[in-house]
């Protein structure tokens, strides 16, 4: 008797759950699901087409009957062209250098400033915070002319420094971290002071470790934004040596490169790093977005 009971016990909820799942299927739900599925196909189709085309010889890319897998496989040739004959490794490296440099300086300047704004009392704090918030609304497009002229005067055009310069301080990061630190319990900081921590130790040993989630979210956010940026590199980059991955796509804007397979292999090479970032750090990225939304 007990044997039968134990055997049938897990079956019963399984059956009812299946029945419930079927019962819950209304025409509306099915329709919504199909719409979602169709939309998803529209969203990923460009990726499918891009990767598929990057594996094809030129004459097959615009073939009237599209096939996902190429009839003539030219993938090896296309990617070798992009990675060896063309300076794509340099472009990718340039992007990496700029993004990493920007992020490092942004973090080093923003975390201490944000802590001071959140937890320390000093004259000018209100003005500074007001300035930070006002600057969040100012996009690079507004200040690009003086910044450009300054870099021209200094003879720094077409250098890594010029590519990073406007982004070396992130007012957004200062604000984001300040909100984050603000919610850090004052009592813990006071306990640390009683325990004999110096203010610097409090920052390094309590605040920075606690800020890891916010820092991670912002880092992904910043990295993606500057990898994909076109506007500023377009202004300050002049030579192939300093060209970023995103900017390199401008080479194909006119229809002069007739090697289509190679074109889309290049597009794939430029896109892949951010897709990898996306798959590994999607949650951090989403957290960054929603944090920015929460500030209201």
């Amino acid at each position: 008797m007990s044997l039968i009971q134990t055997a049938s016990a897990p079956m019963a909820p399984l059956m009812t759950r299946a029945a419930q799942a079927l019962k819950g299927l209304t025409p509306g739900k099915v329709l919504t699901f199909l719409v979602l599925l169709g939309g998803a196909w529209v969203v990923i189709f460009p990726y499918v087409w891009m990767i598929s085309s990057s594996l094809k010889p030129t004459d097959e890319v615009y073939d009237a009957d599209f096939t996902i897998w190429p009839k003539t496989f030219a993938g090896v040739q296309n990617y070798l062209d992009v990675l060896i004959e063309q300076p794509y490794p340099t472009f990718l490296l340039n992007s990496l250098i700029v993004c990493a440099g920007v992020l490092a300086v942004q973090l080093v300047t923003a975390i201490p400033a944000a802590y001071a704004l959140a937890k320390l009392k000093f004259r000018g704090a209100t003005i500074l915070l007001g300035t930070v918030i006002a600057c969040i609304t100012i996009p690079i497009n507004v200040t690009s002319i003086p910044l450009y002229l300054g870099l021209v005067r200094a003879g720094l055009l077409d250098t890594y420094f010029s590519m990073m310069f406007p982004f070396l301080v992130s007012v957004f990061a200062i604000f984001l971290f300040r909100q984050f630190f603000k919610s850090y319990p004052e009592s813990i900081i006071e306990a640390a002071r009683v325990d004999g921590f110096s203010e610097i130790e409090i920052v390094l040993r309590l605040i920075v470790p606690a800020a890891v989630p916010a820092v991670a979210a912002f880092s992904v956010f910043s990295f993606v934004a500057h990898w994909n940026d076109l506007y500023w590199p377009l202004i300050v980059v002049q030579s192939q040596d300093k060209m970023t991955a995103s900017l390199s796509m401008m080479q194909y804007r006119s229809e002069f490169d007739i090697n289509y397979g190679r074109t889309f292999a290049a597009a794939t090479v430029v896109t892949i790093p951010m897709l990898i970032v996306f798959f590994f750090a999607r949650r951090a990225f989403v957290r960054g977005i929603t944090m920015s939304g929460v500030k209201g």
């Binding site: 615009y62 009237a64 300035t131 497009n141 690009s144 002319i145």
Partner: protein, 297 residues
């Protein structure tokens, strides 16, 4: 008795100055000084080409409001925004609600729809232009297979703004969807239960009685940021059309860029930048006012 307290205060203050110093310096150099210089430059006829320049007062602004290119760019931006904004608002709202209520496949759809947000738009714009190609593009092939006329999406002045809006929508929908999802998740489930007990169990009632009002702060945020995004349209234009055909896709920011960095009319371009800043502050103001009203409970 107050001596140790004020000592602590002084020590804190000194530390604070050290901590904010680098950021303050950079904010001055990157934001404050350039802002002042933009205003100053907009009052001059400075061009990078010649070193001679003089103070021209508000001439640049007068020229701006009489400039047919400026009027054309504003007009194009407005048309683009009118196509882009409803799509950038309602599509993600629909997606978020449809996805949030489902247990299985939820993260699958989240991942897919969000993918374009991180993808390098310059590269993906290239792909879109191939898909939209007037003769051999797969979209036109499909249209013709259905017996419909082919559309020269990016090459015709009548359709180019719609085509650009479509590409931008593709890249931004996931972003707004994530914001809406966060907003939806923040609505206490108990409100829906209370509504069900109160008789509001029809989906339409649930939406208008609970979801929509509770989502108001998120909606304001999405609407305003999307408006600014629409006004900042640049990458896809620079990549695919460069304002062509016949200036039909010359939007505001692209015109500003052309004047400044192609024609080197720095003074005039600075005036356009100041105008741009005015628009953005206007949006920020609208957001603060609306957010105040929406968040007032």
């Amino acid at each position: 008795m107050s001596a140790p307290a004020s000592l602590l205060m002084r020590r804190q203050r000194r530390l604070a100055y050290w901590l904010v110093a680098p950021a303050v310096l950079l904010i001055l150099v990157i934001y404050v000084v350039p802002m002042i210089l933009v205003f100053a430059a907009s009052l001059t006829d400075y061009t990078l080409v010649s070193d001679y320049w003089e103070f021209v007062g508000l001439d640049n602004y007068r020229r701006m409001f009489g400039d047919p290119q400026f009027a054309n760019a504003l007009h194009n931006t407005l048309i683009y925004a009118l196509v882009f904004l409803p799509g950038a608002f309602f599509t993600p709202l629909f997606l978020a609600i449809a996805i949030q209520s489902r247990r299985r496949f939820r993260s699958f759809f989240e991942v897919i729809y969000f993918m374009p947000v991180t993808s390098t738009l310059t590269a993906m714009a290239l792909v879109w232009s191939a898909l939209m190609d007037s003769r051999q593009g797969i979209i036109n092939n499909s249209l013709q297979a259905l017996g419909l006329p082919a559309i020269n999406f990016l090459g015709s002045p009548d359709t180019v703004l719609y085509a650009l809006a479509g590409i931008s929508l593709w890249s931004v929908i996931g972003f707004n969807m994530v914001l809406f999802l966060a907003g939806l998740t923040a609505i206490p489930q108990n409100l829906y239960y209370a509504a069900a007990v109160d008789g509001a169990d029809h989906p339409v009632d649930r939406f208008f009685r609970v979801t929509w009002p509770m989502l108001a702060p998120t909606s304001v945020f999405v609407a305003v940021t999307s408006s600014i995004t629409a006004f900042k349209l640049f990458d896809v234009v620079a990549m695919l059309t460069q304002g062509k055909p016949a200036h039909a896709s010359e939007v505001f920011l692209y015109l500003t860029f052309l004047e400044g960095f192609e024609y080197f009319n720095m003074g005039y371009s600075a005036a356009l930048s100041v105008f741009f800043l005015g628009i953005i502050f206007l949006f920020a103001l609208v957001q603060t006012l609306l957010a105040d009203r929406a968040g007032r409970y």
